[in-house]
Each structure stands twice: as structure tokens, then as C-alpha cells.
């Protein structure tokens, strides 16, 4: 009964979405105030019904209603209740429902927080979002209905994929989808502006906070996904350049470019066409990501549920949405005009370079991801493109981005001179040279020197920029007061840039100095890896709710004292008969110690992998800093002021 009601709610949501996607847009074209006024209540209503459907699915999962195909395929009565709830986005149909739910959430947020916008803009933005929602609701209702019943229900379900039975996987998809779908707001703003022909600074100012929030969620989503891969896949890698990871990384790269381009459009009125195009590309890549994950055109560790018929639907949807918006772009963009002019040496130029480099990086990732598909489509053979390609093309594109990032904030808008810039940055440059000389004494490889040098440059120039800002000013205002007076968007920029620096340090150290050893060990034996001694003290069998496991205990010491006990597990999930490696990690600011149990070779002899990963935590810390920067910038005073002023008026 609940499933039928939830199914009905989805159909109602589709009806509302159909109206939301048509009447407000028509109203905006014909200046019909009543039709435009429908946009907000419809968006909220649609969100309500999708949420009810989502809640219905969760209830069915919690109640173990195995007469539902989705529940029978993705859950099990022995699955703990929090994983049963998370199973609502563990399968194909459920993850689409989550996608739609997020879209509803964003639409609702736009409807409620857009008081300062003209009615026509709101009607167009929500109309475009309504159309996207129509596409996803139809996709679900016609090809992937999560509420499909089974005629003869099984006694128990097939269980959630054991890889997904983890706290990281509970929060990774919602965060990632918040980001993916959030770019639909920037996209809808861009389309609305193209329809209305009003691409101006005000448009950029409205899109900016939404883009920032979407970007910060995407950052967190990718972070959690990577963190999960690091400890759950069991072999200590944190980024595999897998097709699905790339699918989330491309919108991030373009989204980062979009953020910077929006800044130029808001401050100087330039780059308008470019910014609109980036907004379209960014969301298109989010949709493409959905296509790649859900259609099975590429092999991936993430290809959980695939079906060519569904692939065809998303492809058509992609054609309509992206093809339609790019046609609109080709039609409207020529009349937009150029905006403020700028000299060769200016903030605009540095941001343009940033955009070009980030977009090229996204293009190379796209090329690498789709290259196997291109070759196969042209009958040129089957290949796979792996990390060597991505690292070879990605790093050279990102290094100049790092160098620009340090200098960019020092360059003035419109036109700047080189001499004062060099003067302001000379101490930073000197510091970096000293740092490089220092590192070189430790016989570092060129890549390590390049990585640490660039990261040092980013961090030092960012810190120096703050010092300069606080140092200038009149005598009567102390530096503390100036510290408080800096706008949040400035702090956001500093934090995000510093986050990149921290991230690069982490990546460089892990790539340069990680150490891994496989040992065959029996209980009682010891192994010394990277200066740490691991003693295999015990092995016991444990019984989990839906798995059995062998758990080893390793006593870790640094030669003088015992540091910690690590307990890696080798689990067997009984329903799907699937073995899983649960690594044990001793985390630290300067290094992670990582132990995982491999195969049991003969009686009692285990292959154990020991890894020493220097500064891997800095990778996560860097991402968190970036996201925090995004949060600060999105809540800047100039976005909040208008709201409160209007609310009181």
C-alpha cells in the first residue's frame, strides 16, 4: 500500500513538474503575472510529493517489504537498519529518486530564497528546473520505477552490495548529488538569462552563491568518495581515474572555472558569453556523468546497475537538454556584447588563463574517459586508458594553475603593471627558492620538488596577501579591526586557495614517498616496514550481522614503544558470497599506517599488505579547507544583505 501511494506521489510530482516546466515559462514570455506566480508554489509542491515518494521507499526498505523488486534486490532482513535506509540510494532506481529529490530541494530553495529577483527571472529559472525534473521523473516512471512489485516475493532480499555497506557510502551519494544537481541552478539561471537576453552583473551576482554551494557540496562529495575508496576498497589507493570518478571530477573542474568566470562577470561585466557557456557545460557534464554511470557504456568499478534501454533514454534526454541549450546559446550569444575591456596584464587575464587551463584539464579528462568508447565505436580495437595517461596530461596543466593562483589575487582588475607585482611577490618567491634548496638537500625527486615548491608558492603567496591587506590602512584602525572587516568572500578565497596548497602537499608526499610491502605471515611473526614493526599477535573469527570475518590483530611499534593495535578484517558477506577486505588504518597528521589482510594461502599463512603513507590526511584536509572556503564565500554579506533588507521591507 505504501509503495502504491509513493508511486502515486511520483506521478503527481510529474504532473506538477509538467505545469512548472510550461506555464511559468510561457507566462514570462507573455508577461502573464499569474502564470509566473505559479512557479514558486509548484516547485514547493513538487518537492513535497517527491519527498513523500522518497520517504515511502525508505519505509518499505526499513519494513523489509521484499514484494518490492527494489527492496528485494538491494536489501536484506539481516542488514542493519541504517544501511537499509541508505539502500534507498544504493541501487539504480533509488539513486535516480535521490537525484530527483535533490533537484526538488534545490528548486524549493530557489523558490524560497529568491525574493530579491525579478518575477520573470524566477519564473524562467524554476521553469527550466521543472523541465529537467520532468525528464528525470519520466525516466524513473517509464524505465526505472523503484516501486515495481514482484508477483512472487522472495523470503529475503539479495542484500545491499557489501562495498556500499559503509558509513562513507551512506553520505557520499547525497553529497555528490547535491553538488551535481546544484549546478542545475547555475544552468537554469544561464538559460533564463539567455532567453531573456539579460546577461549582466546582476545575473552573475544571483548565480554566484548557488554555484558556490553546489561546488562546495561536490567538493565534499568527491572527498568522501575518495576517502571511502581509500579505506574500503582495501588497497590504499585514493584516486583511480576510474570512469565514474572522472565523471564527478569533470563538473568539479568546470565548476571551479565557472566560479572564477562568474567573479569577472559580476565585478567587470566581461566574459559573459564564456560564463554562460561554462554554466551549460558544467551541468551537461553532470548529466553526462549520470549517463556514464547508469548506461554501462564504460567499464567501471562503480557500474552497479546498467541497462542499455535506460542508457538510450538518458542519451535522448542529454540530446534534448544539452543540444537544446547549446542551440539556444548559438542563437542568443552573438547579441550579448563584450562588456568591460581589459589590458593584457590584468586580473581578467589571469582568470581567463585559469579558465582555459581548467577547461583544458576537464577536456583531457573527458578525452581519456571516453577514448576507449571512441576507439570501440570506430572499430579500432578495445583499450583502456589508465592513470599513466591522466597523470601525464593532468599534472602539466595543473602546475600553471597553481602558479597563477598564487599571483592572481595580487593583480589589479582592468590593467596592472608588472613591476609592482614582482616587488610584492619577491619575498614569497625567495622563500620558495629557499624551500626548494632545502628540499633538494634531502635528495628529492624532481616531481616532489615541483609539487612541494608549487604548494609552497600557493601557501606563501596566499598568506602574504593576507598580511598585506592587514598591514595597509590608517593608523587609527588596528590590524585586529581590519581582520574583522575583511569580507567573508575574501576569507573564502584565501581558505580555498590554501586548501589547494595543502592538498598538493598531501598528493606530492603520498605519490613521492608512499611505501608498500606484501608479506606472507603467520600468527606470532613480525614484519618491519618503513621503520615500524608490525607483530601479528592474534587471529580470530568474528560474526557480523550479515557477514563472517577473520580478524587479525597487529601490534604496531616504532622500536621503542607500542603505538597502537590494528585490526584488519577479511569479511565474507554471506548473502552475496562476496569477500571484502576491511583495512585497518592508524591515522596521523604526518603519516597513515595501513594494514590489510590479503589471501589465506596455506593453513594459517596470510598475505598481509603493509603501507606507510606520508601525509595522506593532508589530501582530505585540503579538500575540507576548499569546501569551507566555498561556504564562507557563499554566505558573504553582499548576498545576505539583500535578503534581510528585502525581508524587512
Amino acid at each position: 500500500m505504501i509503495a502504491e501511494l509513493a508511486h502515486y506521489c511520483l506521478i503527481l510530482a510529474l504532473c506538477l513538474a509538467l505545469i512548472q516546466g510550461t506555464l511559468p515559462l510561457l507566462g514570462a514570455a507573455r508577461l502573464q503575472a499569474r502564470w509566473m506566480a505559479l512557479a514558486r508554489p509548484l516547485a514547493c509542491g513538487q518537492f513535497l510529493f517527491v519527498s513523500l515518494a522518497f520517504a515511502g521507499l525508505i519505509v518499505c526498505l526499513v519494513n523489509n517489504d521484499f514484494s518490492l523488486l527494489y527492496v528485494a534486490s538491494n536489501s536484506n532482513s539481516r542488514l542493519p537498519v541504517y544501511y537499509r535506509i541508505a539502500a534507498s540510494w544504493g541501487g539504480h532506481e533509488g539513486s535516480l529518486l535521490l537525484w530527483t529529490e535533490m533537484l526538488g530541494l534545490w528548486s524549493c530553495a530557489v523558490a524560497l530564497l529568491s525574493w530579491q529577483l525579478p518575477e520573470r527571472t524566477v519564473a524562467r529559472v524554476l521553469g527550466v528546473m521543472g523541465l529537467i525534473s520532468v525528464g528525470f521523473l519520466c525516466f524513473m516512471l517509464f524505465t526505472s520505477n523503484p516501486f515495481e512489485r514482484l508477483l512472487s516475493p522472495p523470503l529475503d532480499g539479495r542484500d545491499l552490495n557489501p562495498l556500499l555497506q559503509d558509513i562513507g557510502m551512506i553520505i557520499h551519494p547525497p553529497l555528490l548529488y547535491m553538488g551535481y544537481v546544484g549546478f542545475s541552478v547555475a544552468f537554469a539561471f544561464a538559460i533564463a538569462a539567455l532567453i531573456g537576453g539579460q546577461l549582466d552583473a546582476a545575473w552573475a551576482r544571483w548565480s554566484r552563491p548557488w554555484t558556490l554551494v553546489a561546488w562546495l557540496f561536490l567538493t565534499l562529495g568527491i572527498l568522501v568518495g575518495s576517502f571511502w575508496a581509500y579505506y574500503e576498497l582495501g588497497w590504499g589507493g585514493w584516486w583511480f581515474w576510474d570512469a565514474v570518478e572522472n565523471a564527478s571530477f569533470m563538473p568539479w573542474l568546470v565548476g571551479t572555472a565557472l566560479l572564477h568566470s562568474l567573479a569577472v562577470t559580476e565585478k567587470r561585466g566581461s566574459f559573459k558569453n564564456w560564463t554562460v557557456l561554462l554554466a551549460i557545460i558544467c551541468f551537461s557534464l553532470s548529466l553526462l556523468g549520470t549517463f556514464l554511470v547508469r548506461s554501462g557504456v564504460l567499464t567501471s568499478v562503480h557500474a552497479f546497475a546498467t541497462d542499455p534501454r535506460r542508457g538510450l533514454y538518458i542519451l535522448l534526454f542529454l540530446a534534448v537538454v544539452v543540444g537544446g541549450s547549446l542551440t539556444l546559446y548559438a542563437w542568443r550569444a552573438p547579441s550579448v556584447g563584450l562588456g568591460g575591456r581589459f589590458a593584457l596584464w590584468s586580473r581578467e587575464t589571469t582568470l581567463l588563463l585559469n579558465n582555459v587551463l581548467l577547461l583544458s584539464a576537464a577536456a583531457t579528462v573527458l578525452l581519456g574517459t571516453l577514448y576507449p568508447l571512441f576507439l570501440d565505436a570506430l572499430n579500432l580495437g578495445k583499450i583502456s586508458v589508465g592513470p599513466p595517461y591522466f597523470e601525464a596530461v593532468f599534472v602539466p596543466l595543473m602546475l600553471p594553475v597553481l602558479w597563477l593562483m598564487g599571483a592572481g589575487p595580487y593583480v589589479r582588475w582592468k590593467s596592472a603593471e608588472l613591476a609592482p607585482l614582482l616587488r610584492r611577490l619577491r619575498w614569497v618567491a625567495l622563500l620558495c627558492v629557499a624551500l626548494l634548496v632545502g628540499i633538494a638537500c634531502y635528495a628529492a625527486t624532481p616531481m616532489v620538488m615541483l609539487g612541494l615548491g608549487s604548494a609552497g608558492w600557493v601557501l606563501a603567496s596566499t598568506a602574504s596577501h593576507l598580511r598585506e591587506r592587514l598591514g595597509h590602512g590608517t593608523a587609527d584602525s588596528g590590524w585586529l579591526r581590519r581582520l574583522r572587516k575583511q569580507p567573508r568572500s575574501y576569507w573564502g578565497m584565501l581558505l580555498a586557495h590554501a586548501g589547494i596548497g595543502v592538498f598538493v602537499i598531501g598528493v606530492t608526499m603520498v605519490k613521492g614517498y608512499e611505501h608498500s610491502e606484501d608479506r606472507a605471515m603467520q600468527v606470532g611473526e613480525s614484519a618491519t616496514v618503513a621503520g615500524y614493526t608490525f607483530r601479528f599477535t592474534a587471529l580470530r573469527d568474528i560474526q557480523g550481522p550479515n557477514y563472517t570475518a577473520a580478524q587479525g590483530t597487529f601490534e604496531v611499534s616504532d622500536g621503542t614503544r607500542v603505538l597502537t593495535l590494528l585490526r584488519p578484517e577479511k569479511r565474507l558477506y554471506t548473502v552475496q558470497n562476496m569477500p571484502m577486505t576491511e583495512a585497518a588504518i592508524d591515522r596521523g597528521a604526518l603519516r597513515d599506517l595501513y594494514v590489510s589482510l590479503g589471501e589465506l594461502t596455506e593453513q594459517g599463512v596470510w598475505v598481509v599488505r603493509f603501507q606507510h603513507k606520508p601525509m595522506v590526511s593532508w589530501i582530505w584536509a585540503g579538500c575540507l579547507l576548499m569546501a569551507a572556503g566555498g561556504a564562507l564565500a557563499a554566505t558573504d554579506r553582499r548576498y545576505r544583505l539583500k535578503r534581510s533588507r528585502l525581508a524587512s521591507a
Binding site: I281, V297, G323, L373, D376, A377
Partner: protein, 175 residues
């Protein structure tokens, strides 16, 4: 106007590739062994360790080499299909018992039936390496000249037999 059409043009090209890609199966990997002579081996037979078997025994015949093992659960699923196929007498099937324990292998054949002319016993998996086996079950179609013509990864189903194996075997027998 023209340069603003560029993104659309690129997208349409991408769309074309994706549409073609949808009809392909990325998991289907051609074996580098296709078109090559089947690697030779000479090992003991499973049921009768005294008897040495080799691909040369099957000269001038089209035959199937089916890699199986008693520890492999997909083989259990495949087994009845193979049994039925063997009874049709379309093609001789040779087994390769891969990384198995001899007693377990014999037990398996006695319990579930033996579709094979004989089974080569590959205890340490060395023959499997020569044939590029990376999962069990796998099946090779080998022609009269001892050349591998097809490799099928995963269990054989009635559809695979009807659509892939029988047409190919008929064609090879005619040649």
C-alpha cells in the same frame, strides 16, 4: 554566429559516439589468442592419470576446450547446459580441470555427469596461463588446424550455443 555553433557541433559529435557506444559491450574483450595456434600441452588425464593427453589428439577435428573447476560455482550453473550440448553430439568437448584437487574433480564428474571426451588435469594452472585464462569457466573453439577461433568468457548458456557456437562450428566443419 559560426563560432557560437562550435560547442553544439562538438556535442553532436560526442552524442554520435555515445549512441554507438551504447550498442557495444565494454566487458567483451577479444582474446589475443584468437587466430593463433592453440598452445600445446601434454599432461595427465583427470580420471586416468596414466594417460597423457594433448591438443594433438584432436587434430583434424573442430573441438571445444572448456575450462572448469570443481570449486567454481558458475561451472555448476553451466554444467547442465554442457551435458545437454554433449548429448547432441555436435562437437567433441574437452575439459581442462583448472587449479583443482584431483579427487574433487573426479567426484564432481561422477556426481553431475561427464560431458567431456576427456579432461586435461591442470593442477598448478600452468596450461591456464598459456591459454590466457583469467576466470573460470571459459570456452575455446579450436578448428581442424588447431587454431583458436573463439573464446567465450563466463558460463555457456543455451543462447550462446545457439547464436555463437553452432553457427561457427558449422562453418568450421565445412571448411
Amino acid at each position: 554566429m559560426k563560432r557560437f555553433l562550435l560547442p553544439l557541433g562538438l556535442f553532436v559529435a560526442l552524442l554520435g559516439f555515445l549512441a554507438v557506444g551504447l550498442q557495444r559491450d565494454p566487458r567483451e574483450i577479444p582474446s589475443p589468442f584468437i587466430g593463433k595456434t592453440a598452445p600445446p600441452f601434454k599432461v595427465a588425464e583427470l580420471m586416468d592419470p596414466q594417460r597423457l593427453v594433448a591438443p594433438a589428439d584432436m587434430q583434424n577435428k573442430v573441438w571445444l576446450l572448456n575450462v572448469w573447476a570443481s570449486w567454481c560455482s558458475s561451472c555448476r550453473q553451466e554444467h547442465p547446459v554442457l551435458m545437454e550440448f554433449a548429448q547432441q553430439n555436435v562437437v567433441p568437448i574437452v575439459g581442462l580441470d583448472y587449479k583443482d584437487v584431483r579427487a574433487d574433480g573426479i567426484n564432481w564428474l561422477q556426481q553431475y555427469g561427464n560431458p567431456y571426451q576427456y579432461s586435461a588435469f591442470d593442477a598448478d594452472g600452468r596450461i591456464g596461463i598459456d591459454y590466457g585464462v583469467y576466470g573460470v569457466p571459459e570456452t575455446f573453439v579450436i578448428d581442424k588446424h588447431g587454431v583458436i577461433r573463439l573464446k567465450h568468457v563466463g558460463p555457456i548458456t543455451p543462447e550462446v550455443i545457439a547464436q555463437k557456437l553452432i553457427p561457427l562450428i558449422k562453418e568450421l566443419n565445412r571448411a
